[in-house]
């Protein structure tokens, strides 16, 4: 079967097409709420040329942020836009991925960890520069950018 291989971190039991289907069902209504077309949170400096070794740290940090901050603060909109079912599918599959990621904490991985952390901080800083609700809406609307990047590690 297919699985995610984020460097040393392997994740089974998630079908990427099901995540895409869930997001596609919400995409237009969610992205239409984001009027700030001049800011992209998950921009190239965050996601491009990520090494295999970095990828586990970066996806762990991003998914943790999405679950703790983005999804949590977007939930009431999901109810309002009647997209709760697709929202729940995404959130619960992100939980599966998170639960299977075991990024190594060994000392020799410090520089790789730091590199991934700098990328994540670029994203988080851009997020904090926006109004809170606008930032949550934009981040949730950029899940397709995240899924497109995750494709690279789906084999």
């Amino acid at each position: 079967g297919q699985e995610f291989q984020f460097g040393p971190c392997q994740v089974e039991g998630v079908v990427l097409q099901e995540l895409w289907e869930a997001f596609q069902a919400m995409k237009d209504i969610v992205q239409a709420q984001d009027n700030i077309t001049s800011v992209q949170l998950l921009r190239k400096e965050v996601l491009q040329n990520v090494s295999e070794a970095e990828s586990c740290y970066l996806i762990h940090a991003l998914l943790e942020f999405y679950l703790n901050t983005v999804f949590k603060n977007y939930h009431h909109k999901a109810v309002e836009f009647r997209i709760l079912k697709s929202f729940s599918t995404l959130a619960n599959n992100f939980i599966v991925i998170m639960s299977k990621l075991q990024p190594s904490q060994e000392k020799e991985m410090f520089s790789v960890r730091e590199s991934a952390r700098r990328r994540f901080l670029l994203f988080q800083r851009a997020f904090k520069q926006l109004d809170r609700e606008a930032a949550v809406t934009k981040a949730f609307g950029e899940v397709d950018i995240l899924l497109t990047w995750m494709e690279n590690f789906y084999q």
Partner: protein, 204 residues
């Protein structure tokens, strides 16, 4: 209606076979009255991050029978909490919650049904259609000492598919099992079935 308090449904349980999940419960009986039920679910995300949130089931909010097909609601391989309540007019019962959360990786995977036919020297197989989550691994071989086993992956059931062109006089055998990506599990193999074709060798 002469009913002060509506009892909550009891004996909730989930039966899951081949990724089809059905929640059942004991019906609430009120003579000469029709009771409706509402089913709601929570994935692990909801129970961890927003435990007050329950999501109405796609097909059973409300429903009349004491069962609910929750297959479309279970869309991740995590534990799901499920609850049911009864309603009669303006009366509603308390919620009853499934004792142990349900995870789809516990589904029972049965060997798939298959139909083997011949068309001349062609060996044809038709597999049970179990839906888009299932792939089929078909193993087939010529029944003779040291014969090599071939494997073909069939993506969807329900369509008769040519497996191989047989040699006359030899028995050709087939067995099949399913694989479900979403839970990373496969079923046991089916019974082996063999067929034989008489007649002259086919010039290739």
């Amino acid at each position: 209606d002469g009913v002060a308090v509506l009892p909550a449904p009891q004996n909730l349980s989930v039966q899951s076979t081949n990724m089809k999940h059905v929640l059942t419960w004991s019906p609430v009986i009120v003579p000469e009255e029709i009771i409706h039920y509402s089913v709601e679910y929570q994935g692990e995300y909801e129970s961890l991050y927003m435990s007050h949130i329950w999501i109405p089931s796609s097909w059973c909010s409300p429903t009349q029978g004491p069962e609910c097909d929750i297959t479309d609601d279970i869309t991740a391989t995590v534990p799901y909490s499920l609850r049911v309540r009864a309603t009669l007019g303006s009366l509603t019962s308390a919620w009853s919650t499934l004792k142990h959360p349900f995870n789809r990786n516990s589904t029972i995977l049965t060997p798939p049904g298959m139909e083997i036919t011949k068309d001349g020297f062609h060996l044809v197989i038709k597999l049970e259609d179990l839906g888009p989550q299932f792939e089929f691994f078909v193993a087939y071989w010529k029944r003779e000492p040291g014969a090599k086993e071939h494997v073909k992956m069939v993506r969807r059931g329900g369509i008769p598919v040519h497996l191989e062109t047989m040699e006359p006089g030899a028995a050709h055998c087939v067995k099949v099992r399913t694989f479900v990506k979403a839970i990373g599990r496969h079923s046991a193999f089916s019974q082996t079935e063999c067929v034989k074709v008489q007649g002259e060798a086919l010039p290739l």
